[in-house]
Symmetry: C2
């Protein structure tokens, strides 16, 4: 039995709602971080080794959060052979806000027009990179509730991450993910209902109070410690529930087959994986696996966040486990950068792309983090072959066929985005040549800010 | 039986999740629209008769969307004698965006600190005035799903509606509502699960593309026709389902005991009620109730939206029904103005405040509209006395004890808000004298935009 809960009569009930399909979109234009290091005049390896990133996706003034959300949604619908009439709920997670009132979701309703389906619940859900996770949870509740209308639920995560010139700029990126959710025989990944832990608090580690700029306000060191503290809290709650569920008292990373993280930059994922092992060590210090890190036995949790020796020791100790359980889900984010709400689910797609049938009956744990802050750790069990999803994703081919831009053009493109932000009454000036056939793009923004799209 | 759905075994199941309590907050400062008419030099009655509004709530630079959300949430928790530790989910509906990434929900987490409860799901949900309705639906799904953790769900709707000087300014307002949701014996209002209809489409009738201003972009005529078209569509779907549920073929307004609308301004509520009667007429033209409006039998739906004679005839015909079914839920909005996401639920609170025990076993239908656009019509059945809610609301006393400001001071206050919008590194200059004890207020915005609050 993959997942249980009690129903109204106190009997065990098998959950039947989960993920049927996943589609990923990233722009065709990409810049190499190695080249950007040279261009920015920073030390070699600062971005590629320091951040652990290889390349970064970006887009010009032809694509915005609405167009990339339309592209990924339409691609999902087409690849999975469903109709817009089959969708009963569509929720969007994003922090790329271009209107304070009108949701991206309502803009997506233009795709439903031709089939006349206007009864599609769901809006936009916002808190930094976590919005998509809450949207996913809400959709699962809907599917499992008596309010479900028998149709599919779709969750779209879409973000364009751009930063002011400076040290944060290479942590940008762009991507969109669409999840197809439903019930019954089609479901391939199903949540383990008891294996979910959440932690939320009021922080100002990364936020966007400057409404007239596309750039966030970032306290890099604070956001890293917030991320790790949230990870600790969620893992501790997750472990507690996992031990209750599995009736064992030493649940650890070993009981998790694969783990995917929200990835602001790749180095953070390595740190996070090592941090989980540090948590396991604190709970089971006598375990021989930890014989080489005994010197960290008495460190306080507070001090542990900034102890570089500790971090290094656990990154080293976790290497083999990391390669096995985490690395397969990281190459997308390393190659497109941070895609905010889409990041975690892009990494899940990446894991599926890489491992395919090997994931059968495996437990995949996801850690979602959104600054401000909201975080959850939860588990998905693979109950049916995900090979059909992997085939449709075809990620490596798509990544390798992108168009390489040089750092000068990347910088000019970001300057153009800066100029366009909040602008009205214009037609975008970037060519649509670089867009793949089928991509939606911005055609015009009129004098009061209404946006018109077209499709290549 | 108040509400049914099928459970997993195909047997009828009674829903047990619904509304336990409601709290409303509005600022202490208020301006008379009669006085504003004189001050603005417009014809007498333009705001009071033309819009049907009496007074408008507003706030200075001491209150923002976070502070009013904190005030209403804390007041709900205190009046209903619950602890922050008892809340498992908190979702915010708002379109008063002061940060594009950090949610209002995470700011509310500061109230949970003292009891150490950080496991509180839910974020902000956005699409104009509809955000609170989706937040409510999401919370009901959670309560009815196997993911429910046994705790209360709370939905907070909070908005400050301000407009640029001109014809839209008198349609402003300010208010916040908190709904306490749960399961079982405490529930007083319960949804009728089958009686819900939704309509969403891509429109630009009212939106906020100018991110550096607090003011929206409004196409007044378009938003009225969008509202009425959405109302028609939802009502038609609602009727279809109601006829299925009640096994009758002539379900109409007569089968609805009370109805509350999202109220951008009071005249719109009267128009909307009359519009439902027009829909009933189109479905049952031979009914003798409609003998005086037979001349509108052949009008097209398209033409009907702008036909003033039709509107007048149906407003007249609906007068008695309106007084009985709709008027009791309208005096709050007439006295505080448009509170966007809070409007519909403030009107529900108002109906409860006015009718108390008379609502026992009655069907209340709600129509929610958010520009852009999202809309739903759904039904709540009163299954237990709502008199305790009415007593806690004590709305008339609270409304009558407000502080009357003159139009000059109102205008100066809005100028101050304009100046503050997006500003950083300041302490608000308005006195806190006018705030009631217990009200949260903004203490400081630092140089990077972090907000600090205090409590009177």
């Amino acid at each position: 039995m993959h997942s249980e809960s009690m129903n109204c009569n106190g009997h065990e009930k098998t959950l039947s709602s989960g993920i049927i399909g996943i589609e990923v979109y990233f722009p065709q234009t990409v810049v190499s971080l190695k080249e950007l290091e040279k261009f920015d005049g920073v030390s070699q390896g600062k971005y590629t080794i320091g951040l652990g990133q290889d390349n970064m996706s970006f887009c010009g003034d032809r694509e915005d959060v609405i167009s990339i959300a339309m592209t990924v949604l339409d691609s999902l619908v087409s690849k999975y052979g469903i109709s817009y009439g089959d969708i009963g709920r569509l929720e969007v997670g994003t922090e790329t806000i271009i209107d304070k009132s009108k949701s991206v979701k309502t803009a997506l309703m233009q795709l439903f027009e031709s089939c006349g389906n206007t009864e599609v619940e769901g809006l936009d859900t916002t808190n930094a990179c976590y919005g998509g996770t809450q949207a996913l949870f809400n959709t699962l509740y809907w599917l499992e509730s008596p309010y479900w209308n028998g149709k599919y639920g779709v969750v779209v995560m879409a973000d364009i991450a751009v930063y002011a010139p400076g040290p944060a700029r290479p942590t940008g990126g762009c991507g969109a993910v669409a999840l197809l959710l439903g019930k019954g025989k089609e479901v391939k990944l199903i949540p383990e209902v008891q294996l979910r832990a959440t932690h939320m608090e009021n922080t100002y580690d990364f936020f966007k109070p400057n409404l007239s700029s596309e750039y966030p306000t970032v306290d890099g060191a604070k956001t890293i410690s917030c991320y790790l503290r949230a990870l600790d809290t969620c893992y501790s709650r997750f472990i507690h529930r996992a031990e209750g569920l599995t009736k064992q008292d030493n649940f650890s990373l070993q009981d998790i087959d694969y783990i995917v993280f929200h990835a602001p930059f790749h180095k953070m994922v390595q740190k996070s994986f090592a941090r989980l092992l540090f948590n396991d060590f604190k709970r089971d210090p006598e375990n021989t696996f930890f014989k080489d890190v005994q010197q960290f036995g008495n460190i306080s949790m507070e001090a542990s966040y900034s102890d570089k020796d500790l971090e290094k020791a656990f990154v080293t100790l976790s290497k083999a486990l990391y390669e096995e359980k985490c690395a397969p889900g990281t190459f997308l984010a390393k190659n497109i950068g941070n895609s905010y709400t889409a990041s975690l689910y892009g990494n899940l797609a990446c894991l599926i792309n890489e491992k395919g049938n090997d994931l059968m009956n495996k437990r995949i744990v996801l850690f979602s983090y959104g600054s401000g802050l909201a975080s959850s750790m939860f588990s998905l069990k693979v109950i049916q072959s995900v090979q059909p999803i992997a085939q449709k994703l075809d990620m490596r081919t798509r990544l390798s066929s992108r168009i390489w831009m040089n750092p000068e053009d990347f910088t000019k493109t970001l300057q153009l985005r800066e100029q366009r932000y909040g602008q009205m009454d214009y037609s975008p000036s970037n060519s649509i040549d670089s867009l793949l056939p089928g991509t939606f793009y911005l055609e015009q923004v009129n004098s009061i800010g209404c946006r018109k799209y077209n499709r290549k």
